[in-house]
């Protein structure tokens, strides 16, 4: 059975390593500040006891006042999973760092989010629309999108 790690434990570790990086702690997730996302992700991937080598998916949710980007991670070695989230409060120009350097699996998914939700991933080598054509106006998965 894949064990979902407790948010409190991981948050404790992260708080010790990267003070001030945690915005909120959930039961099985932590919300980190977007400027420390890369450092946290690298720590989760490369720490022996955590070893999150497998990237399940990344998606984004529009909560009107902010966008939440959700990363589901798993470790094939230890068979456990964890969710990290980050928020962008800027509706005009939401930006989060790209994790493609750590997990190649984020490649198409970040392009999909950029396409449908309009969040820019800094450092993505080929950030362009995935499904819709170049020149399409707007981002359909946003809650305020009107056809």
């Amino acid at each position: 059975m894949t064990v979902a790690l407790s948010g409190k434990d991981i948050a404790g570790q992260l708080e010790e390593k990267f003070p001030g990086s945690i915005e909120e702690t959930g039961q099985e997730c932590v919300v980190v500040k977007s400027d420390s996302l890369l450092a946290v992700a690298e720590y989760l991937k490369n720490t022996g006891s955590l070893a999150f080598d497998y990237f399940n998916y990344v998606t984004a949710v529009d909560y009107y006042s902010y966008f939440e980007v959700v990363y589901q991670l798993a470790s094939i070695k230890h068979n456990h999973s964890f969710v990290i989230k980050t928020r962008c409060y800027d509706r005009e120009n939401p930006t989060v760092p790209s994790v493609i350097g750590l997990w190649q699996g984020a490649n198409f998914q970040e392009r999909e989010i950029y396409d449908l939700m309009g969040i820019k991933f800094e450092g993505h080598p080929n950030l362009k629309r995935l499904f819709l054509w170049e020149g399409f106006q707007g981002h359909p998965l946003r809650k305020d999108y009107l056809q």
Binding site: M1, T2, D53, Y54, F55, N56, Y57, T59, V61, D62, V70, Q72, I76, N79, V83, W103, Q104, G105, A106, N107, F108, Q109, E112, L116, R129, L130, F131, L132, W133, P140, L141
Partner: protein
């Protein structure tokens, strides 16, 4: 001109479009390939031709009204899509599924895996040059599985059989005897085709050592399903994170060693045997009882979020649901197996010839309905 000089000569790089309508692309998929003579330098996948905005559509439908949409994701294996979605809603709303329904779900999901692998193996052989003969044979066997699905839910392609809290209706009396007969037939069929094709010189030459996906790359790219297991990644959600009643059955997880096209093909054939093994165990002790929990038509799950995943025939298929306590999900994200499995295609085909591109692409087994959603 000496031979060495000729070897160093390069041709002008040449851009070639595969698709969007091409017999080998299994749907409306386009690859922009850059070629040096016949050798592939780079490819760029272009997708979106079948994008229907399913994730947006879910936000305007009730929880049970979304099930028919999931049929249209991976239309080769709609039962697995239904199952993944229902598990996510059940997790979100805390619904307990009756035993009998769990067993029926396992039987149907494994039949679906068999049907999917029939197409995967058949069309893969098609791509490697055994033109349409094995494909039609594989379709003949799939047809028998479809007949059983027709028997349980009256549909042949878009089933919507799995419902929130169970399945839509109980199986008819003639289902289990028919299933028994089919399992016998399919076991023989798998052995027969295995024997015919495993020793085939042309198949071996076209698949052995071709399109190698190393284990580390597979994990890093988030590859799942038979493609990952072909590369030696021991990751099958039925064992790693058992859902439904999979923990009650004995089965093995076939794995490849080299991560080439042959291994991926081999893993699928072995998986068909393992699926038959699970069905044989499950159909002998299907318990009596209701097939659906008492679930209202309009479900209002409490505020929160849930992620549930299943080992669909093509790999990990997951649903991430966010509820705001209304009758429709606030957000429903579908983890698309086929799209993520395509991530590694570029690495796999670089340096191979055009004919190998078709074989390597065929060995991944994707459905455009799921890639584009």
């Amino acid at each position: 001109m000496t031979t060495t000089e000729m070897m160093t000569l390069k041709t002008e790089p040449f851009m070639l479009n595969f698709g969007p309508v091409h017999p080998s692309t299994h749907g409306v998929y386009r690859m922009r390939a850059t070629l040096d003579g016949e050798v592939i330098l780079d490819i760029e996948p272009v997708v979106g031709y079948l994008h229907r905005g399913i994730e947006k559509l879910t936000e305007e439908r009730t929880y049970s009204g979304i099930i028919p949409l999931t049929d249209r994701l991976d239309y080769i294996s709609p039962m697995s899509n239904n199952l993944g979605y229902c598990l996510a809603v059940e997790k979100l709303a805390g619904i307990k599924v009756p035993e009998r329904a769990e067993y029926l779900r396992v039987i149907i999901a494994e039949l679906q895996r068999l049907a999917n692998h029939c197409i995967a193996v058949g069309s893969f052989l098609n791509d490697t040059g055994a033109y349409y003969t094995p494909f039609m044979y594989a379709f003949r066997e799939r047809e028998k599985i479809i007949d059983l699905f027709d028997m349980v839910c009256g549909q042949r392609l878009t089933y919507s059989y799995m419902r929130i809290g169970g399945v839509s209706q109980d199986i008819p009396d003639e289902f289990l005897p028919a299933l028994n007969k089919l399992v016998e037939q399919l076991s023989r069929w798998v052995d027969e085709y295995d024997f015919l094709l495993m020793q085939n010189e042309i198949l071996l030459a076209r698949t052995k050592g071709v399109g190698i996906l190393p284990r580390e790359t597979a994990i890093n790219c988030g590859i799942s399903g038979p493609v990952a297991r072909g590369s030696g990644v021991n990751w099958d959600l039925r064992k790693a994170d058992p859902y439904s009643v999979y923990d009650r059955f004995e089965f093995d997880i076939p794995q490849g060693e080299n991560g080439d096209c042959y291994d991926r093909y081999r893993v699928r054939v072995e998986e068909m045997r393992q699926s038959l093994r699970i069905i044989k165990q499950a159909m002998n002790d299907v318990p009596a009882g209701p097939v659906r929990a008492d679930v209202p038509h309009l479900i209002r799950p409490p505020k929160g979020e849930a992620y549930a995943h299943v080992e669909a025939p093509k790999g990990e298929l997951g649903y991430y649901l966010v509820s705001d306590n209304s009758i429709a999900p606030y957000r429903c994200h579908i983890r698309p197996t086929s799209l993520i499995n395509l991530t590694a295609l570029r690495e796999m085909v670089k340096g191979w010839k055009v004919a190998d591109l078709i074989a390597i692409f065929g060995s991944i087994d994707i459905t455009m309905g799921e890639v584009d959603r």
